[in-house]
Amino acid sequence: MTVETSPSLGVVESTNPSDAAVYTRDLTKVYTDFWGRPKVRALDSLDLTIHRGEVFGLLGPNGSGKSTTIKLLLGLIFPTRGEAMIMGQRCGTTEINARIGFLPEESYLYRFLNGEETLYFYGRLFKIPHRDLKKRVPLLLDTVGLDAKARKRKLREYSKGMARRIGLAQALINDPDLILLDEPTTGLDPIGTREMKDLIVSLKNQGKTVILCSHLLADVQDVCDRITILFRGKRQTLGHVKDLLQVKDITQVEAHGLTPQQIEELRQYVQRFGAAAQITHPTSTLEDLFIKIVRENTGESGSYTSSDA
């Protein structure tokens, strides 16, 4: 067994399948037609090891096999070939399901229940005592930012953003070790997106493993330790985000409060090494700008709650 020091805090990298949060070997899924003839090869020999404690991004265009991988890990569908293990055990078992949380692509929940009833129902499926649920449910609803009014409303009256929030709350009801988030920021406004990302980081800081499946590459870049990109059912690349994105032949220097003259001197200094140098002022992201404006106007600095419909 080899254990490597992780570039990210708290990540335990091991080549031993039983130590990995998720381990797949030759994982293949071929969808067949009514007569059993192969129709689509959705996933082709996927080898993947996701370490405990990391935030892992599963990227790829539509139909690349992301959702198929998630469904296979959850036991919603069965592999045509290969194996998939979670925390060293065969996936899809109730023992494993007790330790994972899953936020599906859209919040597929009972629309006739209200927010609280939903969490109590899922809590009962984990056999969480009612006494504990009475404490945990309000706490979770606070965490995901659903206010008292929203909790009593039926889910069918929820906006998309609120549905994502209650979906996330049900995924966390059992305090899971592994959380699978399928497009977690879909439908959320920028503040909601930021809160979701903060939450993911906070989960990672609690030592939990998070698998993130998203189209929004900026979100993935912000929070993931490692990513893999799938295309046509095959793994195209795998590695640490920083390593994959690093442009090795360009050097970036950051400095605060330089005068135009000092900038010009810096350019001339760099050019003495024979390299072409470009010195510009960095721009903030639109997300940062949006959040700054909203927070200035609401006078809040923390999270805000959602009861919009």
């Binding site: 959850l74 919603l76 399901n97 994972i100 597929y108 929940l109 499926l125 984990f126």
Partner: protein, 650 residues
């Protein structure tokens, strides 16, 4: 062993499926079963149905019942309440069955389609818990609907019974009321229109000629009006013994006769009547004729009893066919109305005379002969007294404990058919019966103070007898027809003892409980089908499974059905007719075989009983429970097996 296996085949298959599914294939899931999780899933399933407003169908059903019951055209008040009970119960059954079917067939496909199932199966919930949770949910939906319909039924019936009771009181004040109708309505005025009573039926109905002066133990039957049935068991060793292969089989009769005491003298010149007896051979249940009189050697099957050693011979081939059946009945049909035929314990024996080798064997009856009235339009015919002969019908009750004695008398009900004699066209459609009782334990015959009952054609009449007459629980009720010229027809269930009474509401509750079991069966079948079919196909297949057996029994797809279709389709083309006939017979045969393994929904039929006011006994709850267990349990387990292997992502 083989017989045992086939008799209990459904139980064996059901048990095998359950053992395989729960204890071999799904042992881990069985051991992990959590009632809490099952109840939680059932609760959501129930709330789903409630939020989908399935209960709104109940007010519609109530409205339909009220409208239909107001439009009905009853004969009288008891008939009106019967019809209303029928409507209420039919509406409840229809509503709960349809809702159970649709809810159960659509639940799983809808959850897969909407992907809600994603958030369930990814929790530590086994597929077995999902299946059981759903079944619990459907059971709760059905129970809620039946509770609402039950409360409405009881309330509406009580209200209607109160109005109809007032109408009865008013009708009874009319002086022109027909006496029989008055007695009928007075009974309901006293008893109430909503009632539930335990009926005890006689085990047997016998008839005798009813002539005093005959020697003890030798009862007689009247020629031309009554007959006797004698049961025989054919020894299996005789069937296989080659020595008896072509043996002569001879029926030897020992039936003493005597002329009817006051028989009218034969017309001048007419031959003097002779005591003749015709023999037929019937099946074990004495329902089907296996050997007609003309099939006997000699071609008449008739024997003169006044000649020495009266006997009839059966052709060996015919007898060998009978021997294969094991048991059969010989029917003794006395044909001369001028004679009384005494029926001893062994009125006929079968002599077997081998051709060569082997000893002659004499077969004796397997049981005491049963004497009956000739069968007419309404069952066994009981004639009125004439020519010194007073025919009697005996209803034998066995272990009939009575709890209904009121003011020292016990209630009975009698319902017979009347066959008017053609000679007297003015004979009214009613007659009087004389009832006496013989206690079979003490041997006391209570004949000095007979009860007289006026009966109308096919209408129940009520009478009571002193409680001490029936206190032993084993007794014979002896009925005589006191109206000259009328013949009454009766079957064993024509006379019933009202042994116990209980509140109508309790009986209704038991009826609804049976309906609930039926709704559970329907829901389980529909849910099972939905685990591998889309919901519209699942609904169709469920209907086929539920109604298949009932349809096969009611369509009467006998062996002649193919020929009948061939005549309609193929006309004069014999080749085509043969093909059509063969194909139709093969198809109907296959359908009948498949239908025979489907659930028998007849076990859930209680409407008629509640309508008649007959108490549903606890033993009657057993067949529905057995059907539910034999079909519901294995189908639940199979639904689990299918769901465990099902990819729930669409």
């Amino acid at each position: 062993m083989a017989d045992f296996f086939f008799n209990y085949l459904p139980f064996v298959i059901a048990g095998a499926v359950v053992v395989f599914g729960l204890f071999l294939y799904g042992l881990r899931d069985t051991l992990r079963l959590s009632p809490g999780r099952i109840w939680a899933i059932g609760g959501v399933c129930f709330r789903d149905a409630i939020r989908r407003k399935v209960l709104w169908v109940t007010p519609l059903a109530m409205l339909a019942v009220i409208i239909v019951s107001l439009l009905q055209k009853p004969v009288d008040q008891p008939d009106a309440i019967r019809q209303t009970i029928k409507f209420c119960f039919f509406a409840s059954a229809l509503v709960v069955t349809i809702i159970a079917l649709i809810t159960a067939a659509t639940n799983l496909p809808r959850e897969i389609e909407s992907r809600v199932i994603y958030t369930i199966v990814t929790k530590p919930v086994t597929r077995l818990e999902i299946v059981l949770g759903k079944v619990v949910g459907f059971a709760r939906v059905s129970a809620a609907m039946l509770l609402i319909m039950g409360v409405f039924t009881l309330g509406y019936l009580e209200m209607r019974a109160w109005f109809l009771g007032r109408q009865i009181t008013q009708t009874l004040q009319s002086p022109q009321l027909d006496p029989a109708q008055r007695a009928w309505l007075q009974h309901f005025e006293a008893q109430g229109l909503l009632y539930s009573q335990t009926i005890h039926r006689p085990i047997r109905l016998m008839q005798y000629a009813g002539v005093s002066g005959l020697s003890d133990g030798k009862l007689a039957i009247l020629g031309g009006a009554q007959d006797a049935i004698v049961k025989f068991d054919f020894p299996p060793e005789l069937v296989n013994d080659p020595a008896y292969k072509d043996a002569t089989y001879r029926l030897v009769f020992k039936v003493p006769t005597r002329p009817v005491p006051q028989a009218p003298a034969p017309a001048a010149g007419a031959p003097a009547p002779v005591p003749e007896l015709q023999a037929l051979i019937l099946d074990l249940n004495a329902e089907r004729t296996l050997v007609q009189p003309q099939q006997f050697v000699g071609g008449t099957g008739t024997v003169r009893l006044d000649e020495p050693n009266p006997s009839l011979e059966i052709p060996p081939a015919t007898m060998q066919q009978l021997a294969k059946l094991g048991s059969f009945n010989i029917q003794l049909l006395p044909t001369s109305s001028s004679f009384l035929y005494q029926i001893p314990d062994e009125p006929v024996t079968v002599q077997v005379l081998p051709v060569k080798g082997g000893q002659p064997v004499e077969l004796l009856p397997a049981a005491k002969p049963q004497t009956r009235g000739s069968v007419g339009r309404f069952g066994q015919q009981l004639r009125s007294s004439e020519s010194g002969v007073d025919p009697i019908a005996i209803f034998r009750f066995l272990e009939a404990p009575v709890k209904t004695a009121r003011e020292g008398r016990v209630p009975f009900e009698i319902r017979v058919g009347l066959e008017r004699s053609g000679a007297d066209a003015d004979t009214e459609d009613k007659t009087t019966l004389q009832i006496t009782v013989r206690d079979r334990v003490s041997g006391t015959y209570h004949k000095n103070d007979p009860v007289l009952v006026n009966v109308e054609n096919r209408r129940t009449a009520f009478f009571t007898v002193p409680a001490e007459w029936v206190s032993s629980a084993d007794f014979d009720v002896i009925v005589k027809n006191r109206s000259i010229g009328n013949t009454i027809g009766m079957v064993p269930s024509s006379l019933q003892l009202v042994a116990d009474r209980e509140p109508f509401a309790f009986n209704l509750f038991k009826g609804l409980l049976v309906l609930w079991l039926f709704a559970m069966l329907v829901a389980i079948i529909a849910f099972f089908c939905s685990t591998f079919l889309s919901w519209p196909i699942a609904v169709m297949l469920s209907l086929l499974i539920i109604l298949g057996r009932w349809a096969a029994m009611n369509l009467e797809l006998g062996s002649g059905f193919g020929a009948q279709v061939a005549t309609d389709v193929a006309g004069n083309n014999p080749g085509l007719a043969r093909v059509v006939s063969g194909s139709v017979d093969a198809l109907t045969g296959a359908f009948t075989i498949v239908a025979s393994v489907l659930p028998d929904i007849g076990a859930f039929g209680v409407t008629e009983q509640i309508e008649r006011g007959a108490t549903i006994s606890l033993t009657q709850m057993v067949p529905p429970i057995i059907v539910l267990l034999v079909f519901g349990l294995p189908l639940t387990v199979l639904a689990y097996v299918f769901l465990r292997n099902k990819e729930v992502a669409p």
